[in-house]
Amino acid sequence: MKSMAYPQDYSKISKVEKPVIGYARFGRVLKFNRYLFLLQLTLLLFVFEFLVIFLLEDYFKVLSSITKRVLEDSYTKSYKFLKLTLEYSVSQGRLPTLQESFIYLILSLLSLLLLTRKSNPLPKYVSAWLMYIAFVYFVSSFYFLLFLEKFPYTERDFAILYLLQQTGVFIFIPLVLGLSLSVFTFSPLNLLFNAFTILLTLIYSSVFGGIRYIFFVYVLKEFSYIHMPAMFFIFGPLLDFIYIVSFYSLCLYMTLRLLQKRQEAFYQWGF
């Protein structure tokens, strides 16, 4: 009778091991905790939506006072939205002169012509964006050249529209991030990561949205309403989605880096 055990091994474990089979990516699914999923959905959506609505009036009040400090000639008004009173400060804007409109028309037209030329050396994705910007400015300048007096908005309309747009973005952030991030239910830490991401996104949005507002009001005052369409159609909610997706990817990265210590903790077999 011979002993063949590894001499240094004194382990008392009698079980061999649990089957460890790598979950190939074609058939794996994510570990799913139904309760954590529902908890995240509920908490992330309701808590943050509540927070947004609760802080909305204060946010716009602060923004209004900062606007007033930066743009000293601005005046303060308020707007009733549902049961909320949203305060804003805005400087008086101005209509473009015929000369300005004409210059923008020529510039945008020239840009469009140059960008659509085959010899355009810019990468197509950059050209595509520039074409879009040029197109918006072309429409805008064309309008102001022909129907200057009929422009339906004042700086106050702009401010109200911006307020509503920003409110829309605030409401949308917990919704879109809550729905997309709740999918990850690997650990209770996910709830923390996801809540942190939404919070960070909301903070970023309030800072970015605020600065953007003051910047826009300044542009309308100094450089006329000809830029107003661009403020909504180019630099509007489209830009908000950059940081929303950016924070989403950051949260994904945190999840992948911190929680994926072992494959088994992350995936399960999907069949």
């Binding site: 063949m4 590894y6 061999v16 091991e17 800072v207 970015f208 300044y218």
Partner: protein
């Protein structure tokens, strides 16, 4: 004016900041490689055992050991997937209950005592399990007889026949020339020329049974569940059967092709799958339950469990 300048700088900064991680990734390309695809991947039912024995043979070759059967009792450090100690035995008995290294028996091995093998067990002769054993994986060059409860975690690869006469859980993958199951056995996949639960001649060997044979030619695919089996007479299907639901086959039924189910498969009392000399499969996403005399020529695969009660 400086306030406004600051405002413009802050706006541009906040606009570009979210792109920072993306731009860093584009510049530093930390995760630029395409997801790895194994260009040599093929479907091999003996993959586990074959690749292990390939590693082992290579490791012995590296040590200039040509004839394993002449090896004396020793610990050898071999480079398998990583450097590890491997114990080599001839026909000696094994003392330890818990064995923490891979063990190689150079000749026949009879396991009279209970053991737990935390690493691979290799037998270059025949293997006989007479006492309860727990294994990680098992390679047997000759035949393997299981006459006491056996529990395997990963794979079993038997170049000869595998005869199971006691309760056994054979882990994820079983490969053998022939598998004879004579007591309750579970596994996930098994490949052999013939897997049977009884020596009794079934429909493929004894076609002249009583009653009129129902012959169906061609393959068919059903959306729901299907039950096949006729009390009046035998059923022979010359084709494959695909189903989205449960497949229940009972009695004198011979399906010469494959059986595939997105749910479970039950084979009972006289069912034959495949034709001798050819490889056919029974594949289920759910459980495969086999009861009574049943014979399969080829491959059994369940994503959950194959349970055989002869």
């Amino acid at each position: 004016m400086p306030k406004v300048l600051l405002l413009i700088i802050a706006f541009i900064f906040l606009l570009l900041l979210p792109f920072l991680p993306s731009i860093l990734e584009i510049i530093f390309k930390r995760d630029k490689d395409p997801i790895p695809i194994d260009q040599h991947r093929t479907k091999e039912p003996d993959y586990f055992g074959k690749s292990f024995i390939k590693l082992l043979t290579k490791a012995f070759e590296d040590l200039n050991i040509q004839n394993i059967s002449k090896l004396q009792l020793a610990y050898i450090q071999l480079k398998l997937k990583r450097e590890e100690w491997v114990g080599v035995l001839n026909s000696e008995d094994l003392l330890e209950t818990n064995v923490h290294t891979s063990i190689i028996f150079t000749q026949d091995a009879v396991f009279n005592h209970s053991h737990t093998f935390r690493r691979e067990l290799v037998v270059f002769g025949n293997a006989v399990f007479l006492s309860e054993c727990v294994l990680r994986s098992l390679y047997v060059k000759g035949d393997c007889f299981v006459e006491a409860p056996l529990s395997v975690v990963r794979w079993v690869h038997v170049e000869g026949n595998l005869i199971i006469k006691s309760k056994a859980d054979l882990g994820v993958s079983v490969y053998a020339l022939e598998v004879k199951i004579r007591d309750r056995t579970t596994f996930k996949r098994a490949y052999a020329k013939k897997i049977d639960t009884s020596d009794k001649p079934l429909l493929d060997k004894n076609p002249t049974q009583e009653g009129r044979t129902i012959n169906i030619n061609g393959s068919f695919s059903v959306k729901g569940s299907i039950t096949i089996g006729d009390k009046e007479g035998p059923v022979v299907i010359d084709g494959d059967l695909f189903s989205d639901g449960d497949v229940q086959i009972e009695g004198n039924v011979w399906i010469k092709g494959n059986v595939f189910s997105q749910s479970s498969i039950t084979l009972k009392n006289g069912v034959v799958i495949g034709i001798e000399g050819k490889v056919k499969s029974a594949v289920a996403r759910g459980k495969i339950f086999i009861k009574g005399p049943v014979r399969i020529y080829g491959y059994l695969h369940s994503e959950k469990l194959v349970e055989v009660i002869p």
